[in-house]
């Protein structure tokens, strides 16, 4: 285990994403406890859509927290427009490590930044075909954390990890138990090897975010061809014999 006294460095940023209820917060709580035990100063930014209680959970660990609610905007776009401010905030507090947690609502989210440690949290209960349905937040992550391994069979765990490997050949795959914390101190040691981030000005996303900009983005509520403008995509109806 690395200790605070071993390192005198600038702040590291880690982006954490994953589908709702996959255990991102539970994993982070364990990581933050482990960081604190080793004398590191951690902070958290929680991005969500409508409401969140996680900030209170982080605060109860005695660390500084920021919450960003995107409301009716795509949370991914909201994240990228605000992450730089959050980074500055973390640096101003002299943190050693800042974690930024965002909800991956549409599975096509792409919150990972080049040169910043990228983590995706998914859980075994989602079913073995899930990994292929998750876009850049899984495919471009450096670390994939798999949770809820204690409630599915060993076979399902192995098949699930194999499917994750198929969707991302290079990522480090870790099993972490959000309840007992098994695996969290190992994950923490990987967080501590993250590159330092001094600024995100000029930084680049690893992959483009889900595209938007159609009439509905601008508040249109009526349905029908004549109301559709901008970036609109049509379903291909297949003619199958019954």
């Amino acid at each position: 285990m690395l200790f605070k006294s071993d390192v005198h460095k600038k702040m590291k940023l880690v982006t954490i994403s994953g589908p709702p209820s996959s255990g991102k917060t539970a994993v982070l709580v364990n990581v933050i406890k482990s960081l604190k035990n080793s004398g590191f100063r951690a902070g958290a930014v929680k991005y969500d859509c409508l409401a969140t209680d996680d900030d209170a959970l982080f605060r109860s660990l005695g660390i500084p927290v920021q919450t960003g609610l995107s409301g009716n905007l795509c949370p991914d776009h909201y994240f990228v427009s605000n992450i730089e401010e959050c980074l500055k905030w973390g640096i101003s507090l002299n943190l050693d490590l800042l974690v930024s947690e965002s909800a991956g609502l549409c599975n096509r989210c792409s919150p990972h930044i080049k040169g910043v440690l990228a983590v995706c949290v998914i859980d075994n209960l989602m079913g073995v075909t899930t990994p292929k349905k998750i876009g850049p937040m899984l495919k471009f992550a450096d670390i994939v954390v798999i949770t809820k391994g204690d409630i599915v069979s060993q076979a399902e765990r192995e098949v699930f990890a194999f499917q994750v490997r198929r969707a991302n050949a290079k990522a480090k795959i870790m099993h972490v138990n959000g309840i007992t914390g098994q695996g969290a101190s190992e994950l923490t040691s990987l967080f501590l090897q993250a590159p330092e981030t001094e600024t995100l000005d000029g930084g680049i996303l690893r992959f483009s975010m889900p595209a938007a900009l159609c009439s509905y983005c601008l508040g249109e509520t009526k349905i029908g061809m004549e109301h559709q403008l901008g970036n609109v995509k049509r379903i291909k109806i297949k003619q199958e014999q019954p």
Binding site: M1, N124, P136, F140, E156, F162, R166, A169, K170, I173
Partner: protein, 331 residues
């Protein structure tokens, strides 16, 4: 990697059938079997990659990883782990844990200690192949040597398989499909005989019979446990199996352990059940985060095990009678 791009689709999918499924993950279906893979990927619109949330470079990286996995398991089995050594660190108060414990293949060791005493931490240390870099300061040697740190993240070399009380099957498929899918992910050949073997073994462990057509979600607790144990014995690549209590109903625990031993697993069993604890050759007593003592099961204890089993069988017989509607006025 460049070579494969020049190969014709028809040849590639014949040589590596799993590739068809791999590409379908990315919404890619092959229409022209005479085109090369390179041409096919070039022919995809930028929009296709964007929709799938991947770029060409990353796709090729994943393809490369996938092919490595197929060919690696076809050429060579994972290097065998014959023993694991745990070198003590310290407990929660920093008192040194003066042990050096070697666990051999085909051995059963039980772990006892109150909740929160550090049983899962010990397992985590083994799983992570700790090198004095975890809160306990323990060091793990594999075959007497320091393991390659990269192996920590390898799926094929994962040291620990876990079986715990609250595990369930969450997939809605039949027993045979389930085992088949697991075997497929291990890139194993001759899957059909193996699937039949595993189901037969699981039936030997379970009290009530089930078939390959039974849905996994319809299995009883005992049957599920039996299937998980048989499947882990035959199909898991991990040499160490951790069992967190095996409840006494609907599964022959002695046969279950002997199957794992026969399959050369290093069995670690967290338990508070005297029968299970005495079935092991040794037991680790965990206290305050450290291994406090290693006890070898004595011959007196082994004799008592026979008595305990008699009591246990009596109890099971009562259960069976109760189930079949009998009165328990006579014991």
């Amino acid at each position: 990697m460049i070579d494969i791009l020049e190969k014709k689709i028809g040849h590639l999918t014949a040589e590596f059938p799993p590739l068809t499924e791999f590409f379908s993950d990315y919404g890619i279906t092959f229409n022209d079997l005479h085109a090369t893979l390179g041409e096919t990927l070039e022919g995809l619109a930028e929009e296709h990659y964007e929709d799938m949330g991947i770029d060409r470079e990353k796709l090729l990286e994943n393809l490369d990883g996938f092919l490595q996995r197929i060919t690696l398991s076809e050429i060579a089995e994972a290097p065998t782990v014959s023993e694991i050594t745990i070198i003590g660190g310290h407990d929660k108060n920093g008192h040194p844990e003066e042990i050096e414990l070697t666990l051999l293949r085909g051995s059963v060791t039980s772990i006892v200690g109150p909740t929160g005493s550090g049983k899962s931490r010990l397992l985590a240390d083994i799983e992570w192949m700790a090198q004095n870099d975890t809160p306990t300061g323990r060091t793990i040697r594999v075959n007497g040597q320091k393991p390659d740190p990269e192996l920590r993240f390898s799926l094929e070399y994962k040291l620990v398989a876990q079986l715990s009380q609250n595990m369930n099957f969450v997939m809605d498929i039949t027993v045979a499909e389930f085992v088949f899918m697991h075997a497929e992910s291990r890139m194993i050949s001759a899957i059909d005989t193996l699937v039949a073997d595993i189901i037969a073994q699981a039936n030997l462990l379970a009290g009530e019979p089930f078939t390959g057509q039974t849905p996994v979600t319809a299995l009883s607790g005992g049957q599920s446990r039996a299937l998980m144990i048989a499947d882990t014995a035959f199909l898991s690549s991990s040499p160490v199996v951790l069992i967190d209590e095996i409840e006494n109903a609907g599964i022959d625990r002695k046969k279950a352990l002997s199957l794992l031993v026969r399959k050369e697993k290093i069995v670690l069993m967290a338990t508070h059940d005297p029968i299970l604890a005495l079935m092991a050759e040794r037991r680790l007593i965990i206290k305050n985060g450290g291994i406090q003592k290693i006890v070898t099961t004595t011959s007196r204890e082994k004799e008592n095990l026979i008595k305990l089993e008699e009591i246990d069988n009596k109890f099971l017989a009562l259960r069976t009678r109760l189930r079949s509607g009998e009165m328990l006025e006579e014991l």
